[in-house]
Every structure is written in C-alpha cells, then in structure tokens.
Symmetry: C2
Subunit: 213 residues, 2 copies
Amino acid sequence: MTKTNTKQRIANTTLELFNNQGVPNVSTNHIALELDISPGNLYYHFKSKDALIELLFSAYEQELTTLFENPFEPTSTIEDAWFFLHLGFEIATRYRFVYQDTEYILGKCRTLSPRFRRILHRYFDALLGLLITLSDQHVLQNCAESVLEELALNMLLVASQWISFKQHLSGEVAISPSESDLSQGIYQVLSLLSPYLDVKNQDHLRTLQQAYA
Amino acid sequence: MTKTNTKQRIANTTLELFNNQGVPNVSTNHIALELDISPGNLYYHFKSKDALIELLFSAYEQELTTLFENPFEPTSTIEDAWFFLHLGFEIATRYRFVYQDTEYILGKCRTLSPRFRRILHRYFDALLGLLITLSDQHVLQNCAESVLEELALNMLLVASQWISFKQHLSGEVAISPSESDLSQGIYQVLSLLSPYLDVKNQDHLRTLQQAYA
C-alpha cells in the first residue's frame, strides 16, 4: 500500500468514526485499531487528532465552496432551489460531524472558528441570492428585502441543523440519515417559501416533495 | 457551609463551566479547582461527571415541563406566543450546554437520549397547540393542518438551535447571549408565522420586535 493510499484510508475511516461515534469519543488509538495499523504508523501521517479534524474540515469547506461558486441563473425556478439544497444536504450529510460536534471542534481547533463563520455567511449569501432571483421573477410574491433576509436566515438554520435535529427527534443518534430524511429536510426548508408562492408554484413544490419522498 | 449548600454550589459552578467552556472540555478536577475544593470533596457529592450532567439535565427538563403544563387560553394572541417563546428561550439560555453539546452528552449518558426526544416532542406539541389556537381564532389565516405541522417543526428547530447558531454566525463561541440576541431569536421564530397573519397582526408583531430589541 502506498503512502497516499494509507493517508486517504486513514482520512476515510476517521470521517466515518467521527460521523457515527461523535468526535469527542474517537481517539487516535481508536482510529489505528479500526484500521488495524500501529499508532506509530498513524502518527507518521497525522501528528494529532486536531490534524485529522482540520483535514476533514478543509475537505468539507472545499466542497461547499465549489457549490457556492455556481451562482443562480436569472431564470431560476423552485426546482433549481430544490437541487441547490439537495447538493448542500449531501455535503452536510457526508461531513455531519461538523454540525453534530460544532462546539467541540471549534473549541479544540481555534483556527476553525473564523472559517466556520465564513462558511455560514457564504451559505447565507447564496440563499439570499436565490431568494432575490426568485423574487425578481415574481416566483416569490410581495417580499420586502427584510423579509428575504429573515427567510434566508431561517433557511440556513433549518438546512444546517436538520440532520442532527431529525436524529434527536426520532431518538436515533449516529445512524446515517436515509434519502427520505434528506428529502424531508429539503422540503422543510422550502416550506418556508410556500406562503410566498402562487398556487401553481405551491403545487409544483408538493409534486417535487412527492417525487423525492 | 452545609452539605446542601456545597452540592448546590457545585451544581451552579458546573452549569456555568459547561455553558461557557463546553461539556467535553470540563473535567471533575477542573470543577473542583474552580470551586477551590478537593477532588475528594467533589466526589463525596457527585460520583462522576455523568452524575453532574444528569442532575443539570433533570433541572432543565423540570423547568421545561413546568412551562409546557400551562396550556394556551382559547383567546391567545401573538403577544402570548411571544411570551411563551420568551420563557422557552430563557430556559434554553440557562441550560445552553444541552443544545451546544447534545451529541456528546447523549453519547455519554445513554438514559438521556429518550428523555431529550420526549422533551422535543412535548415542545412540538405545545407549539402546535399554540398554532391551532391562533388558527381557530383566525389570527393565522388559511392554514391547513399539514401547514401548521410544518410550521411547528420549523419553529421548534429555530427555537432550539437559535442560541448556538447565532454564536457561530457572529464568531463568538461560549459568550452568554444578550437580551437582544434572545429577542432576535424570538422574532426569528415568529417571522415564520408572519405571512399567515393579517396586516393588523403583522404590524403588532413588528411593534413587539421593536419594543424588545
């Protein structure tokens, strides 16, 4: 096995353990044991648990940045909003330790705090951009700018917390969320827009929900 | 100092440390040091960190249960909704470690998972009860039952996650939220209802927001 392979294998296994067992409960010894390698071999690739957290956080940051770099077309529809949220939910699911153990990782790795803040602000900007586009096209009706901002903030909160929230609500902790959990989350975010949509777009939203459920 | 006083003093200090430094970062030695008592004295009152988590979780659970036991009058208004949310936000602020380090404490104290789940469901029921009352009085307009359920779920998510979310957004971790942070949170929850209110009640909501900001 090459060095690169080992490093990637360590990262993959760590991500899985972080997501399923919680970051505070996973030690480097624990990771080495899971991979069946010596703690020394792990240490050769990663000097500490912090280094692993930072690597995985960077991967999450990179994927979201790519998502945010594709701005919305001026002709965006409710379906484009669904698709954007879907991609965001997929990334959040893959790196769900970030949302599950936020306080712990920000307390442990101090450099992550401003980076996490920046991600939230860029996510907010992307959502607000989407709402402005939909409002310009009159898909969203009668929305003052302050209303669009309130909406974008609530969308961000629901989108970023849905997976953890759903797990607490169903009493299942640390089980990988299903496709239908994600669809429910996307729908729940889009339901915030529902009262501002005309009947045609409200119906379209319900159809999308049924198609993905 | 009496035994009861010491026990209460330990609980108070632990709550403060949990809220401000994060539960995973606070050890029993850390608590003893902060109180200037010996680890043995702490151990005499609490056999483990888990025992402290469970005591504080029970106090939080008890305060919320008392809040949920007061049902809404059939004549409830937007102002009553504001007051109910205010009391809920005060409790959430006082015990914010529960929301900040949820995964960690549920992973550590396995008996808390079904209790936390029950609290979320009772909170949801209380919010849905409020929405049904407001809908019966036509304060909320044109709301199907499914819409009230979607609304209650989003209200619960925003209400339960607001404090942590606001801290991440402003990049301030572990600083006690201000009165204006709480007011903004309550307003953010009530903004979910805004599109279903008539103009008079929308104005009333804006006035409440300004009065509390």
